[in-house]
């Protein structure tokens, strides 16, 4: 198992559940045992949850695994069936699960400038939490989900918050223009400045950031900057291994890669999606939790199992006290209809359709209706 976060842990669990009782080695770049990342931008950042509560393993859980933590994998030698580690060690294996995740994209030129953060790991969250506690002016670069959640948490902590988004509408990619506008309207509802269509030219400051410079010439004063401009799959270590890479590790619908005995799961894996007949790298928690089951079955069966239809991708977000849930694919929709609630109240259930068939659903504070629609989409599009 290369990777010790949710996808790696889920794969280890699946292996044991599916009857594998041999040696199991889990390699993790971070020193921490597997922990839950979604709260890092929410309850953990707000100081409501402590580190112990982030643990993904339960107290009495024993996977009989060897944990090699705090060490990075640097190479995969397929002929030797070996994973090379940064400290020179080598781990031989009959099967390899790649679950190395994704890393936060950074802003070129921001390296070494104090007060500038990305948010991906527990260590990132600790550092940001410490700075937010001191208050001040926060500028969030990127109006995506991480950026929006950080803005929401920081606003609740009493900071002065500005969100800078390069696109005309935040979240237009995952939610479409109309609903992206509705969800990102939460910022202005709660006293956060939202600047759209605002490209970032750079940051100013000598040793510590003091402003975000926009391409239109504006300068936004900042004591703290969070860069939330997406993530890139961590697959550099696989260069030269012969594995097919394309926006992450290229995988079939069952997690198989181009190399026998090697599967990939989680944020680094670009799985084929039979629903859309295209590869799609999904960075959702639920994908990292659910897909290892199929990938492990593939690994144990030597690629002889027919994968079941995957559920439509599902993710959630908590912003300003509103539960946001989304399932399906917004990109292929030709209409969006509000089925319940009202957009202005930020209490809404919206259904995305293509040629009359529901393909995606968005809920804001509508968990009951949302689940019904999510089930329906799973049954009609499989």
């Amino acid at each position: 198992m290369v990777g010790a976060s949710l996808a790696g842990l889920s794969a280890a669990r699946s292996l044991r559940k599916q009857g594998y009782d041999g040696r199991l080695v889990v390699i993790g770049e971070e020193l921490h045992r597997p922990y839950d990342r979604p709260p890092l931008s929410k309850e953990f950042l707000a100081g409501i949850l402590g580190e112990a509560e982030l643990a993904l393993e339960s107290a009495d859980e024993d996977l009989a695994a060897e944990w090699l933590l705090g060490v990075r994998a640097t190479g995969l030698d397929h002929t030797e069936r070996a994973v090379r580690l940064a400290d020179g060690r080598e781990v031989r294996a009959d099967g390899v699960v790649i679950a190395t995740g994704a890393a936060a994209r950074t802003l070129p030129g921001s390296e070494g400038l104090a007060g500038v953060h990305t948010l991906r790991t527990l260590d990132d969250a600790r550092a940001l939490r410490g700075e937010l506690a001191e208050g001040g002016r926060l500028v969030v670069i990127g109006g995506g989900f991480i950026g929006a959640e950080v803005a929401s948490t920081a606003r609740a902590l009493g900071l002065d918050v500005t969100v800078v988004e390069a696109a005309p509408t935040p979240l237009a990619g995952p939610l479409g223009e109309a609903m992206g506008a509705v969800v990102s309207g939460l910022h202005t509802d709660h006293g956060v400045r939202l600047l759209c269509g605002a490209g970032v030219k750079g940051l100013s400051g000598e040793t510590r950031v003091d402003a975000v410079l926009l391409e239109d010439g504006r300068s936004i004063p900042a004591d703290i900057v969070v860069v939330g401009v997406g993530a890139r799959p961590c697959v550099e270590w696989l260069a030269g291994s012969g594995i097919a890479l394309d926006n992450g590790v290229k995988c079939g619908a069952d997690g198989r890669t181009s190399l026998a005995g090697v599967v990939a799961v989680g944020d680094c894996a670009n799985w084929y999606d039979p629903r859309t007949a295209a590869h799609r790298r999904v960075e959702h928690w639920t994908g990292a939790r659910e897909r290892p089951d199929a990938a492990v079955a593939t690994l144990l069966a030597g690629g002889a199992v027919e994968p079941g239809a995957p559920r439509p991708p599902y993710f959630w977000s908590d912003q300003y006290g509103v539960k946001i849930q989304f399932a399906g694919h917004a990109a292929g929709a030709d209409s969006v209809t509000i089925e319940a609630g009202a957009a202005d109240d930020r209490d809404v259930l919206a259904v995305y359709r293509r040629a009359g068939h529901p393909v995606a659903v968005l809920g804001m504070n509508q968990p009951r209706l949302f689940t019904r629609w999510r089930k329906q989409i799973a049954s009609t599009t499989s």
Partner: protein, 119 residues
């Protein structure tokens, strides 16, 4: 024992939430079985009655932890603790629940609220 609802008002595949504290829900599975468990997910404040019922499992509507209706056991993160199960029976077309005397596993925010502390 507490009267929950009439059996005819609880179709298969549906759940009925009882307004007790903490809330309890009765599930009517697609196979026609009845189960009662604590309604609140042990991870966060979410109503399992709003969740995805499949076979003898209900998936939390928010973060997808699955609870076994027969045992209350949870199969996957983020929830780590089981929910309580309660006895349920039908008499003269009425569904009744006999509440467990065990201590519930409530998420931190709900436990604090019930204890009268800050939410």
């Amino acid at each position: 024992m507490i009267p929950a609802c009439r059996l005819e008002d609880l179709p298969r595949g549906e759940a009925h939430r009882l307004d007790v504290d903490p809330p309890v829900s009765v599930f009517h599975t697609d196979d026609g079985e009845l189960f009662a468990i604590d309604d609140t997910c042990t991870h966060q404040d979410a109503s399992l009655a709003d969740g995805w019922l499949e076979g003898c499992e209900v998936e939390c509507p928010l973060h997808a932890s699955k609870f076994d209706l027969r045992t209350g056991a949870v199969d996957s993160p983020p929830a780590k603790l089981p929910v309580r199960t309660h006895e349920v029976f039908v008499e003269d077309g009425m569904v009744y629940v006999r509440l467990s005397m065990d201590a519930p596993n409530l998420p931190p925010c709900v436990a604090a609220r019930l204890a009268g502390g800050p939410a």
